[in-house]
């Protein structure tokens, strides 16, 4: 199974009691309490954790003051991940669209402006390229994480 979270993706297999991650065996112990995972021990270091399930294919994991979602990587998820800055960073309304499909763009150029709660946020090109798709028009409502523009 391929897992992904924030900065990394890893191939993970459970082989009996051993976890093989990206082809390497990993030594860790998991301590449960009342059926809930409360500690992970790796190389003798103990990390208190909290875990809650998020749907069927993901979990939210807390450790040392931060939370992360760890999910099964699907092809579509990986594709969206690659889109990077072009996902809607927040739910909001499209205030302005500055580019059309086929337009060449340079890194940093404003492609679209989103507004939510009186805050505006410019969607900028993460790299040079050509716009292959503009998914929303002015006045459209978008959900957080929705792909807005595709650049190839």
């Amino acid at each position: 199974m391929k897992l992904e979270s924030g900065g990394f993706t890893a191939d993970v297999q459970l082989d009996g009691d051993t976890a093989v991650i990206d082809g390497r065996s990993v030594a860790f112990r998991v301590t449960r309490q009342n059926g809930e995972i409360v500690e992970v021990e790796i190389q003798g270091r103990i990390f208190p954790v909290r875990v809650v399930r998020e749907g069927r294919r993901a979990a939210q994991v807390w450790c040392a003051g931060r939370g992360r979602e760890v999910r099964e990587a699907s092809a579509s998820a990986r594709a969206r991940e690659a889109g990077g800055d072009l996902l809607a960073p927040m739910p909001g309304v499209v205030r302005r669209v500055d580019v059309k499909a086929g337009a060449p763009v340079t890194r940093g150029q404003v492609l679209m402006v989103l507004e939510a709660m009186k805050m505006e946020h410019a969607i900028r090109a993460p790299h040079d390229g050509v716009v292959s798709k503009v998914a929303y028009g002015e006045g459209d409502l978008v959900e957080a994480g929705a792909p807005l523009v595709e650049i190839t």
Binding site: F28, V40, W62, G65, M117, K118
Partner: protein, 491 residues
């Protein structure tokens, strides 16, 4: 004492005011927008009234609806919290006209300080230094452009009716002024109902230091020492501390005196805050006065051992300031820091929404948590992103920083992204630890250090879910996963 109090707000401040009301034997009565019906603050009230459907403008910002709620509830007083209608003279007047106690300053003082341009003039007249900038004579874009050339860049465009950094923007080149003015006017119109703006010289790396003030009906005005508010992101405070490392006793006294003088100049009654900028040569300038309780009021409460909401209510009901305050007997003890936990991306500061799956705040010595949410709460982008405030008190600044770090590390939050990692980075940063920092601290922060948690921890946590333990079964022992080699996933 009054039997009941309407709290015309939501979130952590509504809960905080309700707690003091309960302690005073006053029934806290709440309000809520329909989209907020399930909110934590609603259940902290004895009773709560719906303000109907709609955005804030039609609910928490609707004077007629709140007045109606106050009537129906039969309360004897209204506390506005901060934000929303807390600095609305019209709301204050409507409450008073109903014969209720308004837990806030006189409407006239709100108006005088609410118009930032008028306030600047008033302060100048009272002999209090203000940041050089435009005055009421420069109203249209043309006059402002002339004034801008005179002030020089960088400068700030500010909403005259605004506050809290909303609608403020920096202009680095004079040719950018027209666009900045247009943008500021648009935001100001939406947020404050007025598009008047003014200009101020941009001070390089100022410190943002404010003084808590309190006045009573008998003409006494005192200050309750300072709060250092220079840790900001996008002109909004995310961490405050007291005392400020930038003040010595002499400067503290001079600024405190100016703060009390500013409040006295407008006949202030109740709790207010006078904000100053302090430049690198230790000149201070009046910035604005907030005529309400401040988000960061708890750090003053902690070092002085006071309950400012209790004092607000007592003074609104006609009591005089306590003799100890007037006699200059107050002495802050220890060091307090407040950290604002926002539902937002810790890097881009964009608001985040979702449902808090787990929300378990820290506990123990020197820890206070004022929260507006709990496990299970829904967080929307409709309102301010502030979820909770952590306030730490310790014998000295260093111990307070260490305590804050410990507390943040304990805080379990799952389901909604927060700025907690940013707060951790601030607490670890060299300028903050040294005490020598200014409002540019957050921009200057070094990128996050290498993740201290091996990726394998995240994977292990998630994996373990795929082998769930039968309900009721409680394994007492760690489960060894038998190979014992180290591993760190590539990023």
């Amino acid at each position: 004492m009054i039997p009941s109090l309407l709290i015309a707000n939501r979130g952590e401040i509504a809960v905080r005011v309700a707690r003091t009301a309960r302690e005073m034997g006053i029934e806290p009565v709440g309000v809520y927008a329909e989209s907020d019906a399930d909110s934590y603050h609603v259940r902290q009230m004895s009773r709560a009234f719906s303000l109907g459907q709609g955005p804030a403008l039609e609910t928490y910002l609707s004077v007629p609806k709140l007045i109606e709620a106050a009537k129906v509830a039969g309360v004897r007083a209204v506390h506005p919290g901060y934000g929303f209608l807390s600095e609305s003279a019209a709301f204050a007047r409507a409450v008073k006209e109903l014969g209720l106690f308004w837990i806030g300053p006189p409407p006239e003082a709100i108006e005088e300080m609410g118009d930032k341009l008028a306030a600047r003039r008033r302060m100048k007249e009272a002999g209090i230094p203000v940041v050089p900038g435009s005055d009421e004579s420069a109203a249209d874009d043309e006059a402002l452009a002339r004034k801008a050339a005179e002030i020089g860049v960088p400068l700030l465009v500010k909403a005259s009716a605004g506050g809290g950094g909303k609608g403020m923007s920096r202009v680095d080149r004079l040719e950018d002024l027209p666009e900045a003015l247009a943008e500021a006017r648009r935001i100001a119109q939406v947020a404050f109902g007025s598009d008047r703006v003014y200009l101020e010289r941009y001070l390089d790396k100022p410190r943002h230091i404010e003084f808590q003030v309190f006045g009573d009906r008998f003409g006494s005005v005192v200050h309750l020492f300072e709060r250092e508010c220079s840790v900001q992101r996008r002109h909004q405070k995310i961490l405050e501390e007291t005392p400020s490392a930038a003040l010595d006793p002499r400067l503290r006294e001079a600024m405190g005196r100016a703060a009390a003088e500013a409040a006295r100049a407008v006949g202030y009654v109740g709790a207010g805050t006078v904000e100053f900028l302090l430049d690198e040569r230790r000149n201070f300038y009046f910035l604005e006065m907030n005529t309400r309780l401040q988000v960061e009021h708890p750090i003053t409460e902690e070092t002085l051992g006071l309950d400012l909401v209790r004092s607000q209510i007592q003074i609104a009901l006609g009591e005089a300031l306590p003799a100890a305050w007037r006699g200059g007997k107050l002495a802050p003890q220890g060091h307090a820091i407040e950290l604002r936990l926002n539902a937002e991306d810790p890097v881009s500061f964009l608001p985040r929404s979702g449902r808090l799956r787990l929300f378990e705040p820290p506990f123990g010595p020197g820890i206070r948590v004022d929260a507006g949410v709990e496990s299970g709460s829904a967080v929307s982008v409709e309102y301010d992103p502030l979820l909770a405030k952590l306030i730490v008190l310790a014998p000295d600044r260093r111990a307070a920083i260490e305590r804050a770090r410990r507390a943040l590390a304990e805080w379990v939050i799952l389901g909604v992204e927060t700025n907690l990692p940013l707060l951790q980075r601030v607490l670890e940063s060299r300028p903050f630890v040294s005490g020598r920092y200014a409002t540019d601290l957050v921009e200057q922060l070094a990128p996050a250090a290498a993740e201290p948690v091996p990726d394998a921890v995240w994977i292990a946590g998630a994996l373990a879910l795929s082998a769930p333990v039968a309900e009721g079964e409680i394994p007492r022992k760690p489960e060894p996963w038998d190979e014992a080699s180290g591993w760190r996933a590539g990023a």
